[in-house]
Symmetry: C2
Subunit: 129 residues, 2 copies
DNA sequence: GAGGTAATACTACTTAGGTAATAGTGTAAA
DNA sequence: TTTACACTATTACCTAAGTAGTATTACCTC
């Protein structure tokens, strides 16, 4: 098994699959397929193949139970979000979080509630310095 | 020429190249190559090939001048950042800017200055609602 | 025990990004 | 006028993601 999967560049489908696994802690192929069916129209075998590839890559592992493959994540959601975010901020905003937020604020739809939430988080973070 | 390049998923190299073009408003292949030489060790032809591919994709166009290809961006930096950010926030945080910021704040190194900057931006944004 | 059903196994193909070697060409210098 | 230089053109590979068809297997039901 490969030790360190390069977790900062997961494809869209892989990420969707991971999200299902994170939410359910584990899932069989049919379960993943069903969970994604609402968003996309993918063949059953597509999911199965992808999971197999993801296992080779070290993102998930499986055990057999009841003639079914039960897949479990091998990487934490926290870690993936972290790596992906860091990579993204680096790539696009040279690592400046402020630039990123600035950009998002000026282009993204944001509700007052979200703004308040952000303010609170920033304030809290400031105290920790 | 393709009308709408899918601007929300540029590869790393393509983005680096675009950044050079945006900064210089336009650039020849040697110029791009030189600009990127500080960050990576890429063959001259790699840059040339990539620019050709990017032209096919509709990201850039070129004119000939003095026997050289001068490439110009066909998409604005603003637009690319916007699309890429939106896609990213959607993919990873189900579109919630607050979740994204929360995550970044808790995992990313942030200086006091950055926090202050963000606070100001949020406050300014709130007034616009 | 025959057959249907639900899984997995295998194989294959397409596309895009990335990387680069080699071949060709035209201009300027010697 | 020959050659070297600086570009572009052509071609080729590799990898990863995504997508899925076909083959196989095993179990369950009648």
């Amino acid at each position: 098994m490969p030790p360190k999967p390069t977790v900062h560049k997961l494809g869209d489908l892989q990420l969707q699959i991971m999200k299902v696994l994170w939410t359910n802690t584990e899932a069989s192929v049919p379960e993943v397929h069903k969970a994604l069916a609402e968003e996309t129209e993918l063949a059953y075998t597509t999911i199965a193949t992808m999971l197999r590839k993801m296992e080779v890559k070290g993102l998930v592992k499986h055990r057999v139970e009841d003639r079914k493959f039960i897949y479990k994540p091998l990487v934490k959601e926290q870690e993936v979000s972290e790596k992906m975010s860091a990579h993204f901020v680096d790539r696009l905003f040279e690592g400046s979080l402020a630039d990123m937020v600035s950009h998002l604020l000026s282009t993204h739809e944001v509700s007052r509630e979200e703004l308040v939430k952000i303010e609170k988080m920033v304030a809290a973070r400031k105290k920790k310095l």
